[in-house]
Amino acid sequence: MTAEELVLAQEESAMTAPEPVTLGRGRIVLRRFLRRKLAVAGLVILVLMFALAFIGPYLSSWNYKDQDYNNFLTGPSATHWFGTTQIGSDVYAQTMRGLQKSLIIGLLAAVLSTGVAGIVGATAGYFGGWTDRVLMWFVDLLLVLPSFLILAITSPLFHGRTWLLFVILLAAFNWMVTARMVRGLARSLREREFVTAAEVMGVHPLRIITRHLLPNMASLLIIDATLNVGGTIIAETSLSYFGFGVQPPDVSLGTIIADGTDSALNYPWLFYPAGVLLILTVMAVAFVGDGLRDAMDDAAGTASSTSTPGDAA
């Protein structure tokens, strides 16, 4: 932002920190991350959510499949913390189960899709030429259709099968945008002198991709995977809302909200717990991702093509 001197000076001040070298970068990222209050809050919330999702069910005596024939549509009470549904299910147990499902699905699908994106993008970007053209044309084709549409259409296929199939499909239609980004980054990294240096040294192309390209994109991939968790949770709940996702008797936050929508005005407990948890989770993920991006961009001084703001200086 200012004259080169300043940047230089600040860079050097960051690098002469007397920390052990191997930890240097990780520490810097961590320190910068911890300085961002929202990001830290996001991390705390996220940890709490996971704790709630996996420990929460054991705190209450009700199972999400149970029905209490003495209580239909009763409000929150000591026995039913979040109240009951029309058929006497315990809303707390259901919400915990839904949170668990949504978190697992989001996490798995996000990691899977970022992995695919990294491989496809780096391959297309590094090799260029026809490899690139074919792969990117395929990406374009998939981008013409919103993944929601495709997933909705194919939803009958996984009715009655394992939810893991749903995860795979979610990932299968979610990697394209990242792949394009990775490809762009790989192309610019390919032009960098350290890659040229490795090439003229005779280093094997696959080794260049794994040893030079991917590590230099690590921050982008980590950030993307994080933000994808939020994206896939939204995608999953949205599909489940229409019944295209998680199938009964299993529940997800999406199905709970769908069931509660119509009576949201009169029986708010059916709707709000799941809604609030959903928003909080996705938002926490977004804050963590954003904080990570800022922290890594600042500390990187390397690749990261993501055009995100750094500090004012």
């Binding site: 000076a9 050097e12 040229t196 240096a197």
Partner: protein, 731 residues
Amino acid sequence: MSDDAVLEVTDLHVSFPGEKGRPLAAVRGLSYQVRRGETLAIVGESGSGKSVSSMAAIGLLPTNAKVTGSVRFRGRELLGLNDKEMSRIRGAGIAMVFQDPLSALTPVYRVGEAIAAAIRVHREVTSDAAMRRAVELLELVGIPDPARRALAFPHEFSGGMRQRVMIAMAIANDPDVIIADEPTTALDVTVQAQILEVLATAKQATGAAIVLITHDLGVVAGFADRAAVMYAGRPVETAAVEELFAAPKMPYTAGLLSSLPRLDAGRGVRLRSIPGAPPSLAELGAGCPFAPRCAFAVDLCRTTEPELLEIGQGRAAACHRTGEGLDLMAGPSGDSGLADQDSDTAPEAASDAEGAPTEPEAPAKPEAAAVAEPIVGAEPVLTVRDLIKHHPLTKGSIIRRRIGTVRAVDGVSLDIAAGTTLALVGESGSGKTTTVMEILRLRTPQGGSISVLGQDLEALNQGRGVRRRAQPVRAGIAAVFQDPLASLDPRLPVGDLLAEPLRTHGHGKTAGRVRELLEMVGLEASHANRFPREFSGGQRQRVAIARALALEPRLVVLDEPVSALDVSVRAGILNLLADLQRELGLAYLFVSHDLAVVRHVADRVAVLNLGRIVEYGDADSVFEDPRHPYTRALLSAVPVPDPVVERQRERIVLPGDPPSPVVLDGDAEALRGCRFRSRCPLYAALEKPEARELCESTDPALTPVGDADRSAACHHLDAWVPALVQSGTVA
């Protein structure tokens, strides 16, 4: 003295909030004045605070900067003015010319609009009138066909033309002071000469004072009246330019001057180098910031920072030992002292607090201890014959269509004998880097032939197992690139970086060799655990050199190896390269745009223009008696860091931009005759129509000239036209 000063800066301090709450002092007490019509140079390396101080003067630092002291413009205090008041002075009273004019011009506005807008900020004129004035200004700064070019966008201009636009913008409102921040740094040497002329024209037209911020002492010598040398945020010496160059009073200035490669020095002269690297602002101690690198430092220097004291009429220096009458240029007691020490292994993290100059005697260099003379003329390590590399030029970023051919390399022939250095010189677009990459990639050339270490590349690339068969050739040829920060993978520690070539070529145990390599280039074995970011620029380049040496190559390609480095650490790298060559019998292909550097290192020189060699031969002979008009112009454009010489010598200023190697489809005319003639001063001066006709119709071939082993590609090598073009002819 201050009565007629238009800009007077007194005790300027600038600091920024630092990492751990400790403020970073970027400028620590700068004072200067400039009068109308005078040029003051502020000289310094990166981190010296020279640019920050000018931004502070016009109030364009970010709001977190803390600025104290005084900046008076025509007697009026500027510090503390609000944005509205300051805006009236910016542009109209004090104008700026920035470096890198591509990023300094808004990409979405036509240049005419941009200049007109600058006019209309300060004057109530119609947009038509402003546009007319913009065209006049463009004409003044030497833009050909200004009325039409005013409608072009910045990306449609070359770097030099954009810088002219910047200058036009700066003088649009007739300022009293023009601050030019590294105005020629990103430009080719021939263009730099043009821009300096334009600046001189602008100064004449406006009568303004110029504050020239630069790291290039050659530019200072030719252009400035007075100079202030800055180091670590402080002025360390101010003087009239003649005095500064004749008798520097501060060891840093003296070190800079004597470490500069010079065109008028001979080949192989050992440069004096300043050890270490400029300090980072975050770690300044109590003593003189230069003390750790200073050959003259005494205990006092390490504890107390010297004040800038007046030592004569308009002269000041900040050194405890100024009064002692030391001969700074000679170096202390003999020449085996620190000043000749090549290591720039800065005491950065290790010993910054004490600043103790406890550097190890860098590479064991048997100075005179005769290592066998290189076997000059033995079998060639590289032979290139008629190399051609053309690629299609496509246009448009959305639709791509072919519109012409880039004739990047268009028939280059070279030989390098074992143990010798061939320098490849030329401006941007001359095909230097393309030639080098064609050699390094070891592919079958598009046209012509390349033979590396006796292996013909076309033969190498035939048949099966090319990758495997190429490995021994790859081991014999290595490369060092311009920017070590870019050429070293930032994610790998130095040890892994050095081990990579070893592993690639199947060497199992690497640790010992890595240690050996580090020591060979003057670094410590413990540096293997550090990452490239943790080194200074010079140290990083040493790592890159160590990596190149890993497989004991016979030929090392050096692509602008010192261009990205601070002036004060260049000499150290050049000396290291010379030592290594002598010890290991390396052959160098040295690519550079910097003729002064080439003068120092080259045994032979090839001058490249438009993908062809126009002059080729023994370095001494070429530098002392250049024959091709292009070589002569290039040499003439290099500023000599000596104000007396620089002001008297006659200069050839080549008109126009460095030529583009692009030939548009269907443009047969472009390929007819000598392709240099559009800029050729000799051609322009030819009187006989037959002589001109020859240039227009026939492409000159490289023909032997004069003594053995020299050749040049010009029809009129004997037609000696003395004063080619007088300086001052712009475009």
